[in-house]
């Protein structure tokens, strides 16, 4: 015969199991920042870090050159014109370099775009520092407006010696809708 006391025994451990469920739900969301951290630390996906602070002392490695290529892509339905001013640059590690990307809104309406960078090979992603980049913020262009967007970058002196060529690729996204959602 079960009494109330036995009923308590039957469900022993219930609280802990509910705790596991709640914990795993939270863990699912923790995977998001965790994934970003792993990508940033290891350079997986060619993810680059944010704005780089230059020290006043500039130490250029004169002994070698690294070729940096620039690629531009537009995401699925992005109608803007988007291209690098130069296709590639030969740079010395440690040197500050500057280039520009051309963008034009050919549509009849005001739109907001954002460029997302990616570097290959992945292991070099950590060695390409951007001191100024249009990719840090979104761009709003009116009907027919065009813009030369600046990029200043340094290739780190410590870049592995077997990397002679880097590709910096930008994909331009149409974020007009998302921006409006945020404004509302």
């Amino acid at each position: 015969m079960a009494d109330m006391e036995n009923d308590g025994l039957k469900t022993r451990g219930l609280g802990k199991l509910v705790g596991v469920v709640v914990g795993m739900f939270v863990f699912g969301f923790l995977l998001v920042p965790l994934y970003d951290i792993v990508c940033e630390v290891t350079g997986f996906n060619g993810k680059t870090s944010g704005a780089y602070q230059t020290s006043s002392q500039i130490d250029v490695d004169d002994s070698r050159f690294v070729t940096v290529q620039f690629l531009t892509n537009r995401n699925a339905d992005m109608p803007w014109e988007f291209r690098p001013k130069v296709r590639s640059m030969k740079v010395k590690p440690g040197q500050i370099n500057e280039t520009e990307f051309f963008v034009r809104n050919k549509t009849g309406s005001t739109m907001v775009g954002k460029a997302i960078p990616s570097v290959t090979p992945f292991k070099a992603a950590d060695y390409l520092h951007k001191t100024e980049c249009f990719c840090f913020e979104s761009q709003e262009l009116r009907n027919g407006e065009e813009l030369d967007m600046p990029l200043r970058f340094i290739v780190d002196r410590d870049i592995p010696s077997d990397v002679g060529r880097l590709t910096l690729s930008y994909t331009l996204y149409d974020i007009t809708e998302n921006t409006q959602v945020a404004f509302r």
């Binding site: 109330m4 451990g13 699912g28 995977l31 994934y35």
Partner: protein, 530 residues
């Protein structure tokens, strides 16, 4: 409390009429509900599959348009995984776990009722999307973003809530199984005396409570991306679609073991009975199950080798995946060693169990081939993958469920099923399944991609063969339905023990099993497992 009232009045039978099934808290009633529900879903998912195979019978577009074809592949996968296989195993757990451990019922009978009755609403909602503008989900059962976010039909929101409901149902069911097994074993029954079906379900239930919340999390992120302007999976807003695949497969890989571990338990019960020997290597079976469960958490990215993972990652996930073959091999060798020099007879449950061992192993081997990174680059998203996971799921999970139904049906109904019809059903299914899926290895290696409604001419012959097999397998399940109905209506009376070599507490009670069993705990623990 309900349980208390029932304990005081334990000689009454079930209520009469439809409300018996709505309000029931009896583990046997709820087990029956789960099993019938999963059988219904098996037929609905099967109709989707036959739609797919009918379209693929010949190259070109004949029967369904690509839009509907995508909906059929998606719904087939979702219904079979969440509607057929998982509820069928929960139904078996409800029926069998209390009887196997000598408990009067599940620990949380009212919650048991809720966790079943959520399911019809979840699947009603999911199936209603077929009638909606834009149609049913069409992004594959893996619902990769951005297919399931930016490019999804409007019905995706209903899909998300349906998944939430299924998740809540599974979580409640698993918590119930765990507390029942840990707290309600008959006095004197140690963990290592439990039948393997109980062990495998205990471990499966832990997997479920660990990963179903992650699935709930990933669909919640989708919901927020679609409706609330967040950008978890939208690269334009700083998110990453590859993140979706990581989170999904962190759930998805343990999920595939959720669908196979209870099957291991069923087969480990049936083979010793018909080989008339004790199960070889009981302890190693328990440890192998636990190892497989642990490894399932650390191999997820082998589903994503081609998305661009660094070499070190590819190597790690390749070797970790291959390690799973070790505990799985232990199990297969144990089953073979159990049969070795046994006095074997081949009644229908044994036929399904032996076919399980052979065909599941074939599916395991193609899995090892897929684990090899350079080979996977060629096989990825081809019919070879389709052949692989259908070999482990259909003659794996589904055959084990059929074996379990034939094995315990006499205990549930009190009547023996028709052995001749049962064997006919087995051979039709066995031939049907192999004719369907074995040729898919060939067309996959030849390069036919999965999830397409039309294909190049060189794949035509094997596709036609495969479609013929699928219709044979599909229609033979009507025979299965007939056999079950016939067995419920009557037949040769089943004895208490039913099978000559059967061991376990469920065989010490009368057939059919009375509405309430083990109100007084059993004492003979030597009977506990075979």
């Amino acid at each position: 409390m309900n349980a208390v009232i029932e304990e005081h009045d334990n000689h009454h039978g079930p209520d009469k009429g439809i409300l018996r099934w709505v309000f029931t808290t009896n583990h046997k009633d709820i087990g029956t509900l789960y099993l019938w529900f999963s059988f219904l879903m098996f037929f609905i998912g099967g109709i989707c599959a036959l739609g797919i195979r009918a379209e693929l019978f010949q190259p070109g577009l004949q029967i369904v348009q690509p839009e509907l074809f995508n909906q059929l592949t998606t719904m087939h996968g979702l219904i079979m995984v969440f509607g057929a296989v998982m509820p069928a195993f929960v139904g078996l757990a409800n029926w069998l776990v209390p009887m196997m451990i000598g408990a009067p019922d599940m620990a949380l009978p009212r919650m048991n009722n809720y966790s079943f009755w959520i399911l019809p609403f979840a699947f009603g909602m999911l199936l209603s999307t077929f009638l909606m503008e834009g149609g049913a989900p069409n992004y594959g059962w893996t619902f990769y973003a951005p297919l399931s976010t930016e490019y999804a039909p409007p019905s995706v929101t209903f899909f998300i809530f349906a998944v939430h409901l299924m998740g809540i149902s599974s979580i409640m069911g698993s918590i119930n199984v765990i507390v029942t097994i840990l707290n309600m074993r008959a006095p004197g029954m140690t963990l290592m005396q439990m039948p393997l079906f109980v062990w495998t379900w205990l471990i499966t239930a832990y997997l479920l409570i660990a990963v179903m919340p992650v699935l709930a999390g990933v669909v919640t992120m989708m919901l927020m991306d679609i409706h609330f302007g967040t950008a978890f999976f939208n690269a334009g807003g700083g998110g990453d679609p590859v993140l979706f695949q990581h989170v999904f497969w962190f759930f998805g890989h343990p999920e595939v073991y959720i669908m196979i571990l209870p099957a291991f338990g069923v087969v480990s019960a049936i083979i010793p009975t018909f080989a008339r020997k004790k199960l070889f290597g009981y302890d190693s079976m328990v440890y192998a199950t636990a190892s497989i469960a642990f490894l399932s958490f650390i191999v997820w990215a082998h589903h994503m080798f081609t998305v661009g993972i660094p070499l070190a990652g590819e190597l790690y996930f390749m070797y970790a995946t291959m390690v799973i073959a070790v505990p799985t091999g232990v199990k297969v060798f144990n089953w073979v060693a159990t049969m070795w020099q046994g006095s074997m007879t081949f009644e229908t449950p044994m036929l399904f169990a032996v076919a399980f061992v052979i065909l599941f192993t074939i599916g395991g081997f193609s899995g090892l081939m897929l684990a090899i990174v350079p080979a996977d680059f060629q096989y990825h998203d081809t019919y070879f993958v389709v052949a692989h996971f259908h070999y482990v799921l259909v003659p794996g999970s589904i055959f084990s469920i059929m074996a379990a139904v034939y094995y315990w049906l006499p205990k549930w109904t009190g009547n023996m099923y028709d052995e001749t019809l049962g064997k006919t059903h087995f051979w039709l299914s066995f031939i049907g399944i192999n004719v369907t899926f074995f040729p898919q290895h060939f067309i996959g290696l030849a390069g036919m991609p999965r999830r397409i409604p039309d294909y190049a001419l060189q794949f035509a012959d094997w596709n036609m063969v495969s479609s013929c097999g699928a219709f044979l397998f599909g229609f033979s399940q009507l025979l299965f339905l007939f056999i079950i109905l016939k067995c419920i209506r009557g037949g040769e009376r089943a004895t208490e023990r039913v099978w000559e070599g059967a061991k376990g507490l469920e065989w010490t009670i009368p057939s059919p099993a009375p509405y309430h069993t083990f109100s007084k705990p059993p004492t003979n623990m030597a009977e506990a497992h075979g």
